[in-house]
């Protein structure tokens, strides 16, 4: 079933290629049909692929697939359990939205702006676009294979396939040097991650019969060091992919360079594979040492706070959203850390809450972050501008996009009644519960403070984004030329928005499957009666009901209020009480202009002032302008210098290869003499 779905998605990719190929033919015979075909195949494929995942999540039996010994490292195993199913659903949901969006995004003419990716390249290279669509399809397939792989070799292959395809998607706009630089940075980082994975599995598979996950789980690791090594390597490798601070440095560059629907896929799904990896490793190990959980919790807190602070400092909409991915990864890791502590200190219920919160937030973030990136893409597509300081008042010109984006913002800030709130609520509950235990792990409840701070900062940041981008009046001519984007681009947005709202309004239907997935991670402990009873009674019982009721209640209240408001305002018993339109009251100043509006820089300044040491912001302030530029402290402060140092070593060594022949012979003789010395030292005859 899954295979069938994947096959269909591949077909969609091929269809895209064929269709573009036909574009070179005179009269573009297949142009229209081809695009339809691509979308239909993609949709059908994702649906078919999602079905088995749904079945498993709704309590169906988990399936396993075995392919005999393809390589000396044992059979290839594929399996589908609840944990995989959650990610599979995410992949297909975001995949179909981004795929369809991308098709219109590239097909419909875009404004030639500072930042728009598609158009020139299309004119240059029609096959390039088709390649992009095919790559999207391939990326989805590799992602799906990754989450169902149950042996090292297929896992690594799917992993690298994912990395390569996303690299080629990132550098879609190859004619821009900065895009190529960002792509190279991404590629190098992800390759380093792959090498860490090599180390991880080499270390883990040391005593294993073969390299299937089952035998890895059966390995008895070195009592003290074993799981420490495995978990550290896993944190490094998967952390690089997930982009947790300080391993996030590649993420803003890459996500900003990619076409928007690719950024949506990257930020919504690809980086989540790091989370999947961590959870899978925990599930396989069964046990998690306390120190590791503390470490993850700490990294989560740091990533969350720094991520949102850095995001607040950005004015490039895509970089801003990218840093928010870092923040949300932080929140997810807080959940993972709490869950790990729950395992380490034998509080299975807390473990369930933590992992369930992390999983649900992963899923939710996938939805609303891709929604936001697609919304940003529509804005860039319409205005050609990525710097929010130049935009404004777009909600009048692109109302549907604005509405969807606003909804996404409410969701990512974690406000009721949307899905972001539900998942953060789960994590919070884990935090509160762990505060009530008797052992040392209750200190972890203080992580909630970080969550609260993150919430406040995120609210500020998205107030800034929505307010500056969509509200107010246009700050720059580019915003005046904006237009609502084609249905092909708005529908995916609205679909994702609907998903966010759905999860937010009816969590009672979402929590049980998520808990099933969390049970996979918690493993044996999940089956002990205390958990099952409490979970059943409490988590997907009254609490879920109540929060569902809350969400619905709040929504209903707002709707009623809105209706009342319409009546109050709308009724016109006499002329004096009519609704009148005037320009904004400027406190007596007679001729306000759009340039006078509050800028994003000044909006964020008062908060950032209190985080100055970590923001890495350079402020440019004169009597006339107030602007801030934000780099990335880790990238500029650590990674680049390190690389320069190595390059200097290389340059110093270069003359060794410029010597004359006799010197080369001298190297040879030197090697020989060294060996003879070793021979004498080692003992001549013994």
């Amino acid at each position: 079933m899954l295979g069938l779905g994947l096959g269909t998605i591949l077909l969609a990719g091929i269809a895209a290629m064929v269709q573009s190929g036909s574009q070179n033919l005179p009269g573009r015979p297949l142009a229209r049909g081809g695009s339809m075909l691509f979308r239909v195949l993609l949709g059908v494929g994702c649906t078919i692929g999602a079905l088995p995942a749904l079945r498993v999540l709704l309590g169906g039996a988990t399936t396993d697939l075995q392919f005999g010994a393809l390589s000396p490292t044992g059979p290839w195993v594929f399996g589908l359990d609840a944990l995989s199913a959650v990610f599979l659903l995410l992949i297909f949901a975001v995949g179909v939205a981004s795929g369809c969006y991308g098709f219109t995004y590239f097909a419909s003419p875009a404004v030639h702006g500072e930042a728009d990716s598609a158009q020139r390249s299309i004119e240059a290279e029609p096959s390039g676009v088709a390649g992009a669509h095919a790559l999207v399809a391939l990326l989805l397939v590799s992602l799906a294979l990754l989450v169902v792989a149950r042996a090292v070799i297929p896992f690594l292959i799917a992993w690298e396939l994912m990395a390569m395809t996303s690299y080629f998607l990132i550098v879609f706009d190859v004619d821009k040097p900065e895009v190529r630089r960002a792509g190279l940075l991404y590629l190098v980082t992800t390759h380093a991650g792959t090498l860490l994975l090599f180390a991880l599995f080499a270390a883990w598979g040391r005593g294993a019969a073969d390299l299937s996950f089952a035998s890895l789980a059966a390995v008895t690791l070195h009592p003290r060091m074993g799981d420490a090594v495995v978990l550290s390597l896993a944190l490094g490798a998967f952390g690089l992919k997930a982009g947790l601070v300080p391993l996030h440095f590649w993420l803003p560059e890459a996500h900003a360079a990619a076409p928007s629907h690719v950024s949506a896929l990257m930020s919504g799904v690809v980086i989540k594979m790091g989370i999947y990896g961590l959870l899978r490793v925990i599930a396989l190990l069964g046990i998690v040492p306390a120190w590791w959980s503390w470490l993850v919790l700490g990294l989560g807190v740091i990533s969350g706070v720094l991520g949102v602070v850095w995001a607040l400092a950005q004015h490039d909409i895509k970089r801003l959203l990218a840093f928010h991915s870092v923040e949300n990864i932080g929140i997810i890791l807080v959940g993972v850390g709490i869950g790990g502590l729950g395992l380490a200190y034998h509080h299975p219920r807390i473990a369930m809450l933590g992992f369930a919160g992390a999983l649900l937030h992963t899923f939710n973030h996938g939805l609303f972050k891709s929604l936001l990136f697609l919304g940003a893409g529509s804005v860039i597509h319409a205005t050609g501008a990525r710097d929010i300081e130049r935009l404004g008042g777009l909600s009048r010109r692109m109302p549907r996009t604005a509405a969807a984006f606003l909804l996404g913002s409410v969701a990512i800030v974690g406000l009721p009644p949307l899905n972001g709130f539900v998942s953060e609520w789960m994590v919070y509950r884990g935090v509160l519960h762990i505060g009530l235990v008797t052992d040392i792990s209750r200190i972890a409840s203080l992580a909630g403070v970080a969550l609260a701070l993150i919430g406040g900062l995120a609210l500020a940041c998205f107030a800034k984004v929505v307010g500056i981008l969509y509200l107010g009046s246009p700050r720059d001519p580019v915003a005046l030329s904006a237009h609502e984007s084609a249905p092909g681009m708005t529908w995916p947005l609205l679909g994702l928005a609907g998903a966010c709202a759905g999860i937010g309004l009816l969590p009672v239907f979402v929590l049980p499957p998520i808990l099933r997935a969390a049970a996979v991670v918690v493993g044996a402990a999940a089956s002990d009666p205390s958990v099952t009873s409490t979970v059943a009674a409490d988590v997907d019982g009254s609490a879920a009901m109540a929060i569902t009721a809350l969400a619905l209640g709040v929504t209903v209240a707002m709707l009623i209020g809105w209706a009342v408001h319409r009546i109050m305002v709308g009724r016109r018993p006499s002329k004096t009480k009519a609704v009148r339109r005037r320009e904004t009251w400027a406190c007596g100043y007679s001729t306000p202009t759009a340039r006078m509006q509050y800028s994003a820089s000044s909006f964020a300044a008062p908060i950032l002032a209190h985080f100055q040491p970590v923001t890495g912001i350079r402020t440019h302030q004169t009597t006339r302008v107030f602007e801030t530029y934000a780099g990335d402290p880790v990238l500029d402060g650590f990674v680049r210098p390190l690389w320069r140092a190595w390059r200097d070593i290389a340059n110093r060594a270069r003359p060794m290869q410029r010597a004359r022949l006799s010197t080369y012979v001298l190297y040879l003789v030197a090697a020989l003499l060294t060996l003879l010395l070793y021979l004498l030292v080692d003992g001549w005859t013994t």
Binding site: S71, A199, Y664
Partner: protein, 482 residues
């Protein structure tokens, strides 16, 4: 009988190609090329038949296709077939001086490598090795300009010194063998009476053979000829050298390692091998950075992979298996890369990054193959090198050599940066204005495509017979199957 045919066929072909009148174009040139491809095919078919039914040893055991030899022979033959097909297209584009010399030199090279991989007598192996050096020289010198002259001069002198040291090592080995203990310098007898060998001379022999053949492999610090030679030689020759010649040299190292292991001198030999391996990795990791010419870049990548080969050999255990698998993958991948680079040079007349931008757009097929090749040659899944490098890494970890594993990974990462920076810029950058799309003839792309397909296949699937042969080879080298 087939073994004899394997050795004789190329040499006969070389003779024929030599006596053909030296016309650059026309029917005779075609006949010459047909001869080349035909013999390559025949050779390949014979090698394939060895996989089906093993051939008995001949000349009193001097020639035999054992596991190690068969692996190397297969790489060589396959690579040569691809290169021969490529040569057809190449010689059509590039009008060579004396195509007859070119073709017959190639065939002599094939014969020599065959002798090396089949010979069980170390002196004979040495002769074959020397013959390969001899055969390659005119190929390197193909362009007859001062740069290629310098290249061939450096290559000849350094590898002659290496060869000489290898000869001395062979003498040492001979003196390690007491009177009347087995037939002199015959591998099976040496292995059978390994314990009786004189340890002192055996150690000396190991060191000198390692340095000697290591020079031909291009292990650091004896690698100095490599970038210059690969950079100047015609790309297909560089491909043959870095794919086939180095594999043969590695076979020499593997042979003496075999004996040393059998003699129980592993603790003595393995640190040396590991040392050479890590040193080569380090040299590659330093010199790939900031390269400006893709052929020199590939030369350093070849240094890296030679390092990995001896590293796996030195680590033992599954490492030996990994090394043998790596011989296969490295040979095919290097051939693939160099043939593609050959297309680049044919298209733009240079292999310098500066004059090659946006290759995926100017020569789509070769450009794409180049990018894929980057991933293959840096050992990314799902290409074959990934499997072998991963196996070698597992050997390091399994042996408890955590630091070796860490260093290896570090160097691999750095090398990836260096190679990706150059190759991606070449493949994806913006083409120079006015640069048009170049047609790629089928002769020039079919070889690389076939090799790429093979490498990809080896990454996901290792057939049973191959696995068995590799295991036998690994066991012969004192290792095990994973």
């Amino acid at each position: 009988m087939r073994l004899l045919a394997l050795c004789a066929l190329p040499l006969v072909g070389a003779l024929l190609a030599g006596i053909l009148p030296n016309a650059r174009t026309g029917r005779i040139a075609l006949v010459r090329l047909a001869l080349l491809v035909g013999i390559a095919l025949g050779h390949w078919a014979l090698v394939a038949s060895l996989w089906v039914t093993p051939a008995p040893s001949i000349f009193g055991g001097w020639l035999e296709a054992d596991a190690l030899g068969l692996v190397v022979l297969t790489v060589t033959s396959t690579l040569f077939l691809a290169t021969a097909i490529y040569t057809v297209g190449y010689l059509q584009r590039e009008t060579p001086r004396g195509g007859s010399l070119f073709v017959s030199a190639m065939l002599v090279f094939l014969g020599a490598t065959t002798v090396v991989s089949l010979s069980q007598h170390l002196a004979m192996l040495w002769v074959g090795m020397e013959a390969t050096t001899l055969a390659v020289a005119p190929l390197i010198f193909h362009r007859h300009d001062r740069r290629s002259l310098e290249a061939v001069w450096k290559y000849l002198l350094i590898s002659s010194v290496g060869i000489a040291l290898a000869l001395l090592g062979t003498f040492f080995l001979a003196s390690a063998q007491p009177e009347g203990v087995g037939r002199p310098l015959l591998l099976p007898d040496l292995l059978a009476h390994a314990q009786a060998l004189h340890p002192a001379w055996l150690r000396a022999a190991f060191l000198f053979l390692l340095v000697g053949f290591g020079t031909k492999m291009g292990l650091a610090p004896m690698h100095t000829w490599k970038p210059d030679t690969y950079g100047e030689a015609p790309s297909l020759v560089s491909g043959l050298m870095s794919g086939a010649l180095t594999s043969c040299a590695f076979l020499g190292v593997a042979r003496i390692t075999e004996i040393v292991m059998a003699a129980g001198l592993g603790p003595f030999a393995q640190p040396v091998l590991i040392g050479f391996g890590l040193l080569s990795l380090a040299v590659a990791a330093i010199f790939v950075i900031g390269q400006s010419d893709v052929k020199r870049l590939l030369a350093y990548s070849s240094v890296e992979h030679m390092g990995l080969l001896v590293l796996g050999l030195g680590l033992g255990g599954v490492g030996a298996y990994g090394s043998m698998l790596h011989v296969l993958n490295n040979g095919l991948t290097k051939g693939w890369m160099f043939l593609v680079v050959g297309n680049v040079v044919l298209a733009t007349g240079s292999s310098a990054a500066a004059s090659n931008r946006g290759l995926v757009r100017t020569i789509p097929i070769s450009g794409t193959l180049l990018v894929l090749g980057l991933f293959a040659v840096t050992g990314s899944p799902p290409f074959g090198l990934f499997l072998s490098e991963f196996t070698i890494l597992r050997a390091a970890v399994a042996g408890g050599h955590v630091w070796i594993a860490a260093t290896m990974l570090l160097f691999l990462a750095v090398i990836f940066v260096g190679m990706a920076a150059l190759i991606l810029e070449m493949a994806l950058g913006s083409p120079a204005p006015g640069q048009r799309r170049v047609r790629e003839s089928g002769w020039l792309v079919i070889g690389p495509i076939a090799l790429a397909a093979l490498v990809l296949l080896l990454g996901v699937y290792i057939p049973g017979p191959l696995n068995e042969i590799l295991t036998r080879a690994a066991v012969a080298l004192g290792g095990t199957a994973p």
